[in-house]
């Protein structure tokens, strides 16, 4: 007997059918799969800035979010700043965790696994010797990032581990962080 047989289908709030049909449709339309994401950031004062996110391009046309989202970034008092928001590096950690959580929910839904709770704790280690220019051999960014998932779901330990593994395999932010990419900055 299969102990994981479910009487009601899993519902993690992810519309897997829609994602699957999008996948099928986009396979035939590579141009529609091209997206451009945007954010606009305005310096406010000191190391405090505000980013806003509204429009993006995809499926061959411009889109707008339901509302304009904004994120303040600042630095804490020990950096002699006013702490009006998370630091940019904490926003990066949040983005990684959010991306992996979204992946966990989607993969679990696709595999018929009901989630009860998912918590990802993310830590990144960094030496300030990099950004402060004390030692050129120390990188500015994270030396390493750890993500610890605590997941309560109707599935075995290995099934949950497989969902987490697959969420990394298909995560945009995981890819952005683990692999090099080109960044070009211009000034107008």
């Amino acid at each position: 007997m299969n102990m994981t047989t479910q009487t009601t289908p899993a519902n993690n709030g992810v519309n897997v059918e829609a994602l699957m049909s999008a996948r099928e449709a986009l396979t035939e339309m590579p141009a529609a799969a091209e997206f451009t994401w945007r954010a606009e950031c305005e310096w406010l004062n000191g190391v405090h800035s505000r980013s806003t996110v509204k429009g993006f391009f995809g499926l061959g046309e411009e889109h707008e979010h339901a509302e304009t989202f904004s994120f303040d970034a600042d630095h804490p008092a020990c950096f002699a700043a006013e702490d009006n928001g998370a630091t940019p590096v904490e926003i990066v950690l949040s983005a990684l965790a959010s991306c992996l959580c979204a992946g966990v929910a989607s993969v679990a839904q696709n595999r018929g696994i009901q989630l009860r709770s998912v918590v990802a704790k993310v830590e990144g280690d960094m030496s300030l010797y990099g950004i402060l220019g004390i030692d050129p051999s120390v990188r500015n960014g994270f030396r390493g990032i750890r993500v610890a998932f605590d997941i309560d779901a109707d599935a075995s330990k290995d099934e949950i581990a497989a969902v987490v593994a697959q969420s990394q395999k298909r995560s945009a932010v995981f890819d952005i962080i683990t692999n090099p990419g080109n960044v070009r900055v211009s000034v107008t």
């Binding site: 390493g144 497989a162 692999n179």
Partner: protein, 411 residues
């Protein structure tokens, strides 16, 4: 001009199996090969290579068992000799040293332009193999000339490489086997590991492939697979065929001094860059292996065989550094080996039958009525790239071919 009913391009195990099936059906045909029959096994494999499938899985068309000891692992040379023997015995209508420059439609059939002149036919079977060209990342072109670049097709033995450090890129069967051989030769080896698999050579007292065969892992038809694209990308079985039935995996390579790094992503400022996702790649491989072992255990217990074989066990998870190097200065390497997979070479097919990535669009090997392809990953089952997959696929496709030929030509 030559004319035949069915033209088979490629005289490896697939093309010869098709010849065997067409002969049984008395369908007039011709087999071409750019070299000899089984040329790839003769000349395009490294010196020490043994088949990773045991001999009972290496049967050619019409054979009941493969070379010698059914549980042994033939060398590529021994297997090439088997093909030679097969050709002598079956005497297929074979033109060797005949390369096809182009294949196109003509009237109700096709025409192949070859170095022996044009050949007309009603139907064609393309059996030129899945591993004709190494798939090498574009950034390979930015490696300095000082560094020698080889692929599993051009690699021969450690003796023929320079003495310095080697970067082996890719951790499926070829990459693992070559990395091990080079580490044994005393070279400093770095292995770049992307998405890969892990299998023990033996499990519960039998070869892992014996279990996979019994549990029908290889027999799921292409029509029943959820994501055919994905399974067609699955790399070769991460195994090595050796008389000692040795395992081959990341931990064994590390114990022999091989340094593991993540998937190779780029070359910048004289440095090779690797992905930081190594940990997930090895975890995924372990999990996938454990799912297979569970499937085997279930197969065993469902049949009440638990007492007859060794008890189930689980292997220790692969250990990798939590801090693998992300960039390595190219000055550490004298050689880069691109074990990054292969592509077929179907460029001679001058017909609009390819997808956006230049791959044949086909349904279980049927490209269109009259045009067939063999020997590609998961053509009809995952066995399709195994040697004993060729006779099975040939049988299925020969039925289609004879059905097509019995249709009257359009008026």
């Amino acid at each position: 001009m030559y004319s035949t009913t069915t033209l088979i391009i490629g005289a490896g195990q697939c093309g010869l199996a098709m010849s065997f099936e067409l002969s049984k059906r008395s369908i007039d045909h011709l087999v071409l090969d750019a070299g000899r029959a089984g040329e790839n096994w003769h000349s395009r494999r490294w010196d020490s290579l043994r088949l990773l499938t045991p001999n009972w899985m290496n049967t050619l068309a019409g054979q009941v068992h493969g070379p010698d000891d059914p549980d042994g692992f033939a060398t590529a040379r021994q297997f090439a000799a088997e093909i030679d023997k097969w050709v002598t015995r079956h005497a297929p209508p074979l033109f060797t040293n005949t390369s096809v420059k182009s294949l196109s439609r003509l009237g109700e059939g096709y025409i192949a332009e070859t170095n022996r002149g044009p050949i007309r036919c009603r139907s064609v079977v393309v059996a030129t193999g899945a591993c004709a060209r190494p798939k090498i990342p574009v950034f390979a072109s930015t490696l300095p000339h000082r560094i020698e670049q080889v692929s599993p097709i051009t690699y021969r033995s450690p003796l023929e490489l320079r003495s310095g450090g080697v970067l082996v890129v890719g951790a499926s069967a070829s990459g693992l086997q070559i990395a091990q051989e080079l580490a044994w030769s005393g070279r400093k080896v770095t292995l770049a590991v992307g998405s890969h698999g892990r299998l023990p050579r033996t499990y519960r007292g039998a070869d892992i492939l014996q279990w996979m065969h019994l549990a029908r892992v290889f027999d799921e038809p292409f029509t029943k697979v959820d994501d055919l694209e994905r399974v067609r990308r699955t790399p070769s079985l991460p195994l090595i065929g050796s008389p000692e039935r040795d395992d081959l995996n990341m931990d064994i390579l590390q114990a022999r001094g091989v340094e593991l790094v993540g998937r190779m992503m780029d070359i910048r400022d004289g440095k090779a860059q690797f992905s930081g996702g190594l940990c997930n790649a090895v975890t995924s491989a372990d999990l996938k292996m454990n799912r297979l072992l569970e499937r085997i255990d279930t197969w065993v217990s469902d049949r009440g065989f638990d007492e007859l074989v060794e008890p189930p066990k689980r292997f220790a998870p692969t250990t990798v550094s939590t801090d693998p190097r992300l960039t390595i200065d190219l000055s550490e390497f004298d050689t880069v080996i691109w074990a990054t997979g292969f592509n077929p070479d179907h460029r001679f097919v001058q017909m609009p039958v390819f997808d956006r990535k230049g791959r044949f669009q086909h349904h279980g090997g049927v490209v269109e009525d009259g045009l067939y392809v063999m020997g590609l990953p998961f053509l009809r089952t995952s066995r399709s790239v195994h040697i004993d997959g060729a006779p099975r696929d040939a049988k299925a496709l020969a039925r289609q071919i004879s059905g097509q030929l019995s249709q009257p030509l359009a008026a």
